[in-house]
């Protein structure tokens, strides 16, 4: 085959591709797929059978259903009268000076089924579970923020505290782990953090690890914020 013929056929191939653009999926495609995953394997049997299915079904639902975390938890299991501890070790240990000695952190709302259904193989990646917990806590903060009356005083001159409030307001449910860890390390290294920086550290640290701070450590937190144990 000479080069001219090769070029002509390559051009024809390109024209053929341009004449067949990939058709878009229908608007409800992902939602329908998640429903099929849910129905083919019930959430309980999916968790028992295949941990990967648990993540797929659970996170497809999180990303598709614009519901507060409490509604999502209700969807997954019946809430009990008292919050159940998740039983996971936190991602990081908070420096002691960031925690009040009298703090009694309340157990975060459980995201994935009751413990007796938590039948995972030993090789399950803690990272996947931590990612779910972080997303859950951020969504919980968002739900709490949106319930606040308008005019709650929040000084948002600092980028990181402002970023937290924006994430709450927008309903973000994803946290970039590398960015979060880098940000927390920067905040901890500050000799004299501003009130906004202190609050940002407490808030983002709670998202990362579930460990709550106090109002003294988060002077700009709104009343009833989930990341402090005492309201102002």
């Amino acid at each position: 085959m000479d080069s001219e013929e090769r070029l002509a056929l390559e051009q024809l191939a390109q024209e053929l591709r341009e004449a067949h653009p990939h058709p878009a999926l229908s608007t409800g495609f992902l939602e329908e797929l998640s429903l099929r995953v849910q129905s083919k394997w019930s959430f309980r049997s999916a968790m028992k059978r295949n941990p990967v299915i648990r993540v797929a079904a659970g996170l497809l639902m999180i990303s598709l259903v614009a519901a507060p975390v409490s509604a999502f938890v209700i969807l997954l299991h019946k809430p009990k009268s008292a919050p159940q501890p998740l039983g996971f070790a936190p991602v990081e240990e908070l420096p002691q000076e960031m925690l009040s000695t009298s703090a009694q952190p309340s157990a975060p709302t459980q995201v994935i089924g009751p413990e007796d259904e938590f039948d995972l193989p030993g090789s399950w990646s803690q990272a996947r579970l931590n990612a779910l917990e972080r997303a859950n806590r951020l969504a919980q903060a968002g739900a709490s923020w949106r319930q606040q009356p308008s005019g709650v005083a929040t000084h948002i001159e600092d980028g990181l505290w402002k970023r937290f409030l924006e994430a709450c307001a927008q309903g973000d449910n994803q946290v970039d782990v590398a960015w979060l860890e880098s940000t927390l390390n920067e905040l901890r290294a500050l000799a004299q953090p501003s009130p906004a920086q202190q609050t940002a550290l407490v808030a983002w640290n709670w998202v990362a690890s579930g460990q709550q701070g106090t109002a003294a450590l988060a002077p700009l937190a709104w009343d009833g914020a989930p990341f402090v144990v005492e309201s102002r």
Binding site: H22, S26, L30, V52, A56
Partner: protein
């Protein structure tokens, strides 16, 4: 779409939940186009795409990235299509262009495209199933010849020569269509 560390399915199996959605977003339209051009109507095409992802989910724990992920998805799709045709009582895709459902994704999907593009689609649709399949995999889906060879169980050299031959066939058919309308 590559295999190895950047492979969406590998990342998903390792614990990155968003990787599966990315896979759906990237491969879904390609798979839908594949099924439409094989002869499925819009509803069946989307249904089959869903089935592809269901099968992929089921096999994720055993997945090992040893080639391209898009080739893996298309292999699943191709097998699914063959199963579908068997159940419909036809072992091979219909050879009769008129018998196949209109592969168009919708009345306005090709709006703005040239007359030549329309003739190209017609020319492709009128080719035999073997030629269409090869052009689908090697040209439209842009799979490496090595992947196409594995899928069709023929040597790589044979893929290369057949692609050349099929494109020439397509060109002949296209020229005939353009003469008919001139």
């Amino acid at each position: 779409m590559s295999s190895g560390p950047e492979d969406h399915l590998t990342r998903f199996a390792a614990g990155d939940p968003a990787a599966f959605e990315t896979l759906v977003a990237e491969m879904g339209p390609r798979l839908k186009g594949f099924f439409l051009r094989q002869g499925a109507n819009l509803h069946l095409a989307e249904d089959l795409v869903q089935n592809v992802f269901m099968r992929i989910l089921r096999h994720t724990p055993r997945y090992q990235a040893s080639g391209r992920l898009d080739a893996f998805c298309l292999r699943v799709a191709r097998n699914l299509w063959i199963d579908n045709r068997r159940k419909a009582g036809r072992v091979f895709p219909s050879e009769d262009a008129a018998e196949r459902a209109d592969p168009s994704p919708g009345p306005d999907f090709y709006a703005g495209q040239s007359d030549r593009a329309e003739k190209l689609r017609q020319a492709l649709a009128e080719l035999d199933s073997g030629t269409r399949e090869l052009l689908e995999l090697a040209v439209l889906q842009q799979l490496p010849y090595k992947e196409v060879a594995m899928m069709l169980e023929i040597p790589v050299g044979t893929v290369k020569s057949r692609v050349y031959y099929c494109l020439r066939k397509l060109r002949v058919r296209l020229e005939a269509l353009q003469e008919d309308f001139s």
